[in-house]
């Protein structure tokens, strides 16, 4: 018989856990859900837009009743669990019935805190917590009365805004003198106050309520200082308390919340708990993103995969009030060890404050223009050393060379037709519609449904902002918990470390050891694992061609019509009449449709069938031409100018330097494509300052530039250091490439990698530490001793025949 799982609480956290369980193993449990509210599962954070009239109840339903039926889940709506018999493992319901469980999940959420003022129990005094509260508020608004909201925090202001939208006059009473003081500092708080007052909201603070009076129904609110305010409805929004009533009654250890460990297990090993009711490492959470993280971890343990850990969440907040953009994250108040970076433009209504400690972002508050919120959040989460761009950081990522979406910085202001994803032609309106219709809650879901951000990824920040803006995003992720892909809970770094520390020398060894939840991975993780294993154990001959993307399997670039391109290497951009004749002969012989000079100083032949490739390569090999690896996550080209041999401005022999760099590095596999250049003088004709590794020759030596690219987001390089000799250029070049090979995530180019770890980190390991530099270079050369075989030569001679020929031709 299947094990029985009972879930107490039909809210977002509990049902997210159930969804995660179904995803991992739909057959794991017979699932029964008890919910006190008479509805399916709805998105509680969307109550504000419902109140404001921007959304309907139907639109915020996440799982309708059919969903429970479709997934064989027994749902008891409007039923309250009144007791748990932990010894007999059963729950007792308010109607007296009993239900047995093997595992129990408590997801009772939280209760609004009602201040026990005189008059708090009058009719018309309500909280802002569920659909019922919203219905009462909408009803009250029909009489055009005056609403008093007690509490100027996130929830209170959203309630006040909603009531105003419903046509009521609203007064907000706040006990301290800064609105949303848990999310904002006083400057941002003042800007927010001004903008809310301009909309007609009355805000009294500091204001402390003495009592609520009325004859059966609320009529007035009296303040401590004697002021009286008419009220036809009073909304108490002063905070929430984890709902631990049931758990503590049955003796499960609780403090402020139900205490759980990193696997979301309570002190009773058969009982798990997730959501706002739990206390984890001393913290309780009231935002949606941490709940999702918890749900994932909890499901992982309930289906007995047993590998995921919840390590707490760093959260960020946004206010769901139309037309007001504010964002905060982390520790934004600071202490004696922190510094503040502040940008303020009162007339534009823009304010940004970053709290910095040891050159790392600890917290952020933004008002007015919040597009860079997700970037600051990433810097905070990744603990990036910001030393090298701290003078620009307040101006946002656009000013770090991202020319992609620099001006588009207010989601609110964007029209629905604004294109967000240029690769797949997805507009803001498309994304918003899909989020609403398909009830999407995460970036992954938006990618799957709209394809936005699923190709080049440069619009990811924008898509996240649209998502946050649309669902009201307390959108966040726990630190270091971005799994490599859906097959695993492990991050890129965890996977790399496991491969290194446990001698995992093949893709399948890694999949088995790390207990992937799919038998043989997916198209995303297998190429990554293949690279990680090869990089760690260059001598293990582990390369698994079935784990490579077609381009690297066929050593040619697949084109949109399923033909391929052939691009031979031209060392440092140089060629000879013999090579050119050979290329021309091949182009004639195989009736090549397009001959094109590439951006990397070589010649590409396009429109060839796969079957022809080995023969063409054989012809090119005869003239001494080898694979240019123009198809791979590998060293591509080294672009050069003619340098001092010919150019009157040239200061060094940049051409020979380029050839030497290319001879040293060709054949190496890298996390993403890797391009180099060497310019003979600061005029920089070889465009070395938008390459992964660029050399600019100067009279006194060689400037080494790193982390640039001219791709999706143009990024200009950072200056790594200046050296005196070509030998040093080669040593630094090898060492930099190797640290990138060893530490970047698969499909992460040097530019985002450097932005993630910080240039200071790279300098420390490559420039300042000579022994480490030499060790890196040595590991690079060792790896190269296995990598520098021309893949074309072997295949022209018949290797991997199955890759290029059809299995059978039955046309005849």
């Amino acid at each position: 018989m299947k094990e029985r799982l009972i879930v107490i609480g039909n809210g977002m956290a509990g049902m997210r856990t159930v969804e995660e369980i179904l995803k991992l193993d739909a057959e794991a449990y017979d699932i029964t859900v008890f919910g006190a509210e008479p509805y399916g599962n709805y998105n509680r954070i969307m109550l504000s837009p419902v109140l404001a009239g921007d959304k309907t109840i139907d639109e915020i339903m996440i799982n309708d009743e059919q969903w429970y039926v479709d997934n064989n889940i027994t749902l008891y709506k409007g039923k309250t669990v009144v007791d748990i018999d932990r010894k007999e493992r059963k729950v007792i319901i308010d109607d007296g019935s009993e239900h047995e469980y093997d595992r129990l999940l408590i997801a009772t959420g939280s209760n609004p805190f009602i201040i026990p003022l005189p008059g708090h129990d009058l009719e018309g005094v309500i909280a802002f917590r569920d659909i019922n509260d919203v219905d009462m508020m909408i009803d009250a608004a029909k009489g055009d009365g005056h609403a008093v909201v007690i509490g100027g925090g996130l929830l209170g202001l959203e309630a006040a805004n909603g009531l105003m939208q419903q046509g009521m006059k609203v007064t907000v009473l706040h006990i301290v003198d800064t609105l949303m003081e848990r999310q904002m500092d006083s400057v941002a708080g003042k800007m927010l106050r001004k903008s809310l007052e301009e909309r007609g909201m009355e805000i009294l603070m500091p204001a402390s309520t003495k009592e609520i009076i009325g004859d059966g129904r609320v009529e007035k609110v009296i303040l401590e200082d004697g002021r009286e305010i008419d009220a036809s409805i009073v909304v108490m929004a002063v905070g929430i308390r984890p709902n631990i009533e049931l758990a503590s009654k049955v003796g499960i250890h609780c403090e402020r919340g139900i205490v759980v460990n990193d696997t979301m297990q309570t002190f009773d090993p058969r009982v798990y708990s997730v959501g706002e009711c739990v206390q984890h490492r001393g913290e309780t959470y009231g935002l949606v993103a941490p709940l999702f993280e918890m749900a994932k971890v909890c499901a992982n343990h309930l289906v007995q995969h047993g590998i995921a850990l919840y390590e707490g969440s760093v959260t960020s907040t946004k206010l769901k009030v139309t037309g007001i953009d504010l964002f905060s994250a982390g520790d934004f108040t600071g202490d004696e060890n922190t510094e503040e970076l502040v940008f303020q433009d009162a007339s534009r209504g823009v304010y940004r404050k970053l709290v910095i400690e040891d050159n790392k972002v600890k917290g952020a508050v933004m008002y007015g223009d919040t597009i860079d919120g997700s970037w600051y959040f990433d810097l905070m989460r990744d603990e990036t050393d910001i030393t090298d761009f701290r003078e620009k950081i307040l101006f946002g990522q656009a000013h770090l060379g991202d020319s992609g979406h620099g001006d588009e910085n207010r989601i609110e202001m964007m029209s629905d037709t604004t294109e967000i994803c240029g690769c797949n032609g997805v507009s803001k309106g498309d994304i918003v519609n899909s989020i609403n219709i398909n009830k999407l809650l995460t970036l992954e879901e938006v990618r799957a449904h709209t394809k936005a951000s699923s190709s080049c990824g440069s619009c990811t920040g924008l898509v996240e902002s649209v998502l946050a803006h649309t669902i009201g995003g307390d959108y966040s992720v726990a630190p270091h918990l971005k799994p490599l892909c859906a097959c695993t809970e492990h991050t890129h770094d965890e996977v790399r470390n496991a491969i290194k520390n446990n001698e995992l020398k093949s893709v399948h060894a890694a999949i088995d050891f790390l207990e992937w939840n799919t038998p043989d991975g997916c198209g995303k993780c297998r190429p990554a694992l293949n690279y990680y294993v090869m990089c760690q154990y260059p001598d293990a001959q582990s390369d698994d061609s079935q784990s490579r993307f077609i381009n690297e399997r066929a050593h040619a670039n697949i084109q949109k019509d399923a033909t391929y391109s052939v691009i031979p290497r031209m060392w440092g951009g140089g060629t000879t009449p013999t090579e050119l004749r050979a290329i021309a002969d091949v182009a004639d012989k195989y009736k090549v449709k397009t001959v094109h000079v590439t951006g990397g100083q070589r010649i590409g032949l396009y429109g060839l069938t796969k079957q022809e490739l080995p023969e063409i390569w054989g012809d090119l090999n005869k003239a001494g031409l080898v694979s240019g690896h123009a198809y791979g996550k590998a060293l591509r080209t080294v672009k050069t100018c003619v340098g001092k041999e010919w150019c009157r401005f040239g200061t060094q022999d940049s051409t020979q330097l380029g050839i030497d760099l290319e001879k040293m590095t060709w054949g190496s596999w890298t996390p993403h494509k890797y391009k180099m250049a060497a310019s003979g003088c600061p005029r920089n004709c070889a465009e070395a300052t938008i390459k992964d590794f660029g050399v600019v020759c100067v009279d006194s030596g060689y400037e080494l530039h790193v982390g640039g690219n001219g791709g999706i987001k143009v990024r200009v390089t950072d200056l790594l250091t200046t050296v005196k000799t070509p030998e040093e250029v080669l040593e630094y070049g090898a060492a930099f490439m190797q640290i990138y090979r060893e530490e970047a995530h698969y499909l992460e180019r040097t530019a985002p990698w450097i932005e993630r770890v910080g240039l200071a980190y790279v300098k420390e390991h490559v420039v300042d530490d000579e022994a480490n530099r030499k060790a890196l270079a040595e590991r690079f050369h060792y790896s190269q001793s296995f990598a520098q075989d021309d893949p074309w030569e072997a295949r022209a001679k018949g290797a991997e025949k199955h890759e290029f020929e059809p299995m059978k031709n039955i046309n005849a």
Binding site: N438, A448, H449, S454, S455, T518, P519, D520, G521, C522, G523, R526, P527, S545, Q546, S547, F549, I550, A554, I558, K560, A562, H802, P806, M807, K808, N809, I810, N811
Partner: protein, 113 residues
């Protein structure tokens, strides 16, 4: 309905988690081999933009199209949700290690081009 089975090769002709192409009169057919030696045949054309599925990465019971990463189920040829569409699937059978293919597509998928 009587099937006309055509011998197309041996199991060992296809790498595990790989595919080979059979040139057929109506267009290429991709023949896949899964990790547990299951053999499946689909029209070698993704329902999205016609990408050659035979060139994709095979994982579990599906293949990822090399052009835009749609996932296609090997047994039915249908795209994994939320994508929609299908590639025609063809019956296969094994006799020992020999693979036989029928050129009569299974019912249920209009995308035979």
């Amino acid at each position: 309905m009587s099937e006309e089975w055509i011998e197309v090769g041996s199991l060992n002709d296809i790498p595990k988690l790989g595919a080979r192409v059979v040139n057929a009169p109506e267009g290429d057919i991709a023949v896949f081999r899964t990790a547990d030696d299951g053999v499946f045949a689909l029209r070698d054309s993704c329902p999205h933009k016609g990408g050659p599925l035979s060139q994709g990465i095979v994982h579990g019971d599906r293949v990822s199209c090399p052009l835009h990463d749609w996932k296609i189920m090997l047994d039915s040829g249908t795209a994994v949700a939320p994508d929609e569409g299908c590639a025609a699937s063809y019956p296969t059978k094994m006799e020992g290690d020999t693979i036989f293919l029928s050129l009569t597509a299974n019912e249920g998928c209009p995308n035979k081009d």
